[in-house]
């Protein structure tokens, strides 16, 4: 690989890491700016000032903010996310299985949704303005307009009542075999595919159609190539970057934005975990979860940028 390309990629990763550092500070300040602090949250409104002062000293809350920030940050870097306030449990240990569940659900949905969206996008672009395009657009646009929980209840009704193939509740636990797990999460996966499909499909279609205006597509037509091979061999390679960036946004959403679906199916993952702890005002857990979400978002965006950089023949093969 040419040196310029490697430099660009490394730069992009470095900027991502810097961004992550800034985000960590923003998260810390955000939590800091909330009214009241952890000590008040633990002891409640009736606590005496003495008791509060004692607890603050014990938790280190009497230290200046920037010192606490660096203590937290160094902890995070060594894998220590702190202790939960509500039950004193180690946060990292509590998050690990839920993060695993989140990633498992997101990956399963993505494995179906991404190729399906690309395929439908290519078909829609091939028949742009004709009936296959109109049907695909109409169906995906109506599914994206449905709120997730409506889609979820619809899917539950259809696949557990009308045709009882799946369980309505997606409980997974350690020691379950992979087929059992997949069977358990089938319904939420279907709902998530429905929710993210349209966005990626529309972008694939739009990106291909915009490339189809190029002079080199006319060249391909004048070479007598069949329409599908024009799209796959000539248009798609030049449409990768907008498509990948939309895919990465949707992947990030699948990891961090699906709390409603988790709740509907009783699936024990990050979204529900975060919401529970916000309700309990368990600030260290909220802080840790927010940071993990930021890592996912920034990581996927870096991934999309790197793909765009590598997909550019001018950077991959310099003069």
């Amino acid at each position: 690989m040419p040196r310029k390309l490697i430099t660009l990629i490394l730069m992009r990763i470095a900027v991502g890491l810097l961004l992550l550092l800034v985000v960590s500070a923003v998260i810390f300040l955000g939590v800091e700016a909330l009214p009241g602090d952890t000590a008040e949250a633990i002891l409640g409104r009736s606590a005496t000032p003495d008791a509060l002062a004692n607890l603050r000293a014990k938790l280190g809350l009497d230290q200046p903010a920037w010192e606490r920030y660096f203590t937290w940050l160094t902890g995070v870097l060594s894998g220590d996310l702190g202790k939960s306030l509500t039950n004193g449990a180690d946060i990292a240990a509590a998050i690990a299985p839920r993060l695993h569940n989140s990633l498992f659900l997101a990956a399963s949905a993505a494995v179906i949704a991404v190729p399906l969206a690309l395929g439908l996008g290519v078909i829609a672009a091939r028949y742009a303005g004709r009936w296959p395009d109109k049907i695909i657009s109409a169906v995906t646009l109506s599914t994206i307009s449905l709120p997730e929980f409506v889609a979820a209840y619809f899917v539950i009704y259809a696949l557990t009542q009308l045709f009882p193939v799946f369980q309505p509740v997606s409980m997974v636990f350690a020691g379950m075999s992979l087929p059992d797990k997949l069977r358990a999460i089938a319904l939420p996966v279907i709902v998530l595919v429905i929710v993210v499909l349209a966005h990626m499909m529309r972008m694939t279609r739009a990106a291909i159609l915009s490339v189809m205006q190029s002079a080199y597509i006319e060249t391909a037509e004048l070479k007598g190539l069949p329409p599908v091979s024009i799209i796959l061999r000539h248009a798609l390679p030049n449409a990768i970057s907008p498509i990948v960036s939309v895919i990465s946004i949707n992947l990030a959403y699948l990891v961090v934005g699906v709390v409603v679906v988790e709740v509907v199916f009783g699936y024990n993952a990050m979204g529900q975990f975060l919401v529970d702890h916000v309700a309990k005002r368990d600030l260290p857990v909220v802080q840790a979860s927010a940071l993990i979400f930021a890592v996912v978002y920034i990581g996927l965006n870096i991934f999309a940028d790197v793909v765009s950089i590598v997909a550019n023949p001018r950077l991959r093969h310099p003069k």
Partner: protein
């Protein structure tokens, strides 16, 4: 079958739907019943101005209508088969196999994401009559024949890795690779510099002869088509004007329109006696931000008051960069620009309103130099208001005067740019520059995008205006006929340096330096056999 008929078009009618601004869409006829026949091994030149229907007719040989053009009448036969109403599958079998195409801009017509070799052999492999190895060997042979560097490995490169002239040769290789019966060349050398064009023309000519294909050669440049074709067909407004052998059309044209085309570009401007300078460019060097090398190196020249200095050079020679330095858009690294007894500030921000008013500019693309949502009145009125604070009746009176000066009626004032022809647009841009009462106008390739007859009209207008208002022109061009037509002094630029500078007569008279000699001898002449003679002379000199 040396004389078999490859293409037989009769009574061809092509229509399209036009969408004029502010009016209902209507059907227009682009080609009104054209007939042509072409045998194997023959080259037919299609010549005409823009809008004559040359490309449209060329593409009809592949039964392809660009931008919604519809082939609505007549017969098109390729190798004896009617193709106008052929099915998509039949057309796919025809295109890229029997008939292939070379476009004006190979840079845009190659897919940037794929290697050249993959694109060159694509049809041969996809139409399944060569396997990959055979096709690659064949392509390498063509690369060699077309004079491409390192033919064995040339195909491994991507389009952005090779030069414009090489891409045009590669596109010719792509068209010849599947062994077609007919190749449509659509202005294949128009976008190239003259010194590059001559080599590509020669390569195309040899390749056509060796592969014994039939060729349609489309161009607006009669001097080019005279070098390469056996017959010429002159087209205008979608109708045939005249058709004959190359010799007959060039040397004995019958129709008045053909005669006008042949004699065009023969304007000759007699240079004026020396005058004191109004612009003095003094040892200017410049580079673009973030780059390591100079685009201009130690450039000095004078523009005399009321006269024209032409700057000639190929793309990348620094001509337009010099214009940017003079207008203040690019502050020079070193050196100065003197104007009318004062030093101009290096950067735009430091210039007074008077500095801005007295140096005006006209651009190559009149289209993009005007706001499409402003009327001609607004466009010309803007500098009147900005520089002179004119309003109301005074302003409209002056706009009418200016429209009169550029030989357009005052009813043009209510029109939008999209309702004007190319030449009219450029006239409006001239009026806008004139409105500021400038002392110098920088003209950057102002006739390059225009048809020759229209371009001559613009040059005559510029000369008339110069005589009336004593403006100086800094005239940037790559075209030597234009230099001949307008310049008093000439500067030849090459790679950011002035290689030759002086009165027009001196610059264009031998003895030449090497570069000026190469440049001047590369300009196609309206003589049959010029290409072969020039190439022979060069080979003998080596």
């Amino acid at each position: 079958m040396p004389d078999s008929l490859v293409l037989d078009i009769s009574g061809l009618v092509i229509e399209a739907t036009s969408y004029p601004p502010g009016a209902r869409p209507r059907d227009v006829t682009l080609v009104h019943g054209v007939d042509l026949k072409l045998q194997r091994g023959r080259v037919l030149g299609l010549i005409g101005e823009s809008g004559a229907g040359k490309s449209t007719i060329g593409l009809s040989a592949m039964s392809y209508g660009r931008g919604g053009a519809r082939l609505t009448g007549g017969e098109i036969q390729v190798n004896g088969r009617e193709i106008r109403l052929a099915s998509p599958a039949e057309l796919r079998a025809l295109r890229g196999r029997e008939v292939t195409y070379v476009s004006q801009s190979a840079a845009a017509s190659f897919n940037p994401a794929r290697r050249l070799m993959d694109q060159v052999i694509e049809t041969s492999v996809s139409h399944r009559y060569m396997n990959r190895r055979q096709a690659e060997d064949h392509a390498i042979g063509l690369f060699r024949k077309l004079g491409l560097p390192d033919p064995e490995t040339f195909g491994n490169r991507y389009p952005h890795q090779v030069s414009g002239g090489q891409l045009q040769r590669a596109m010719t290789a792509m068209a010849l690779c599947p062994g077609p019966d007919l190749v449509v060349f659509d202005e294949p050398t128009t976008a190239l510099d003259v010194t590059t064009q001559i080599g590509v023309l020669r390569a195309i000519k040899d390749a056509i002869r060796d592969s014994h294909v039939a060729a349609l050669y489309i161009t607006h440049d009669l001097a080019v088509v005279a070098q390469i074709s056996d017959e010429i067909m002159v087209l205008r407004h979608g109708r045939m004007v005249e058709h004959g052998t190359c010799d007959q059309i060039i040397n004995h044209p019958r129709e008045p329109y053909t005669r006008a085309l042949v004699s065009v570009r023969a304007l000759n401007h007699v240079e004026k006696p020396p005058e004191p300078a109004i612009v003095r460019i003094d040892a200017v060097s410049a580079r673009y931000r973030g780059t390591q090398s100079d685009v201009l190196t130690d450039v000095s020249m004078d523009v005399a008051a009321g006269q024209t200095l032409a700057i000639v050079g190929e793309s990348g020679s620094g001509k337009s960069t010099l214009a940017r330095v003079i207008t203040g858009l690019l502050p020079p690294k070193s050196g100065q620009v003197w104007f009318d007894g004062r030093t101009l500030s290096r950067a735009l921000a430091g210039r007074s309103r008077r500095d801005l008013r007295e140096v005006q500019m006209i651009y190559q693309m009149a289209d993009t130099a005007m706001n499409p949502r402003h009327t001609v009145d607004t466009i010309i009125g803007r500098p009147l208001q900005f520089y002179f604070g004119m309003k109301g009746a005074e302003k409209s009176h002056r706009v009418a005067e200016l429209l009169d000066q550029i030989e357009l009626g005052s009813d043009f004032g209510k029109r939008f740019p999209a309702e004007l022809s190319g030449g009219q647009k450029q006239r409006v841009c001239i009026a806008r520059a004139l409105a500021a009462k400038p002392k110098v106008i920088i003209c950057d390739e102002v006739t390059s995008a225009l048809d020759p007859l229209v371009a001559d009209g613009i040059l005559k207008l510029l000369l008339k205006l110069q005589a009336e208002a004593r403006m100086a022109y800094l005239f940037i061009t790559h075209d030597l006929a234009t230099v001949q037509a307008i310049a008093d002094k000439v500067a030849v630029m090459h790679r950011g340096r002035v290689v030759r500078y002086g009165a027009k007569g001196d610059v264009l008279t031998p003895p030449f330096d090497d570069y000026t000699d190469l440049l001047l001898s590369s300009v196609p002449k309206m003589e049959i056999g010029w290409l072969d003679r020039t190439i022979k002379l060069r080979e003998a000199a080596q």
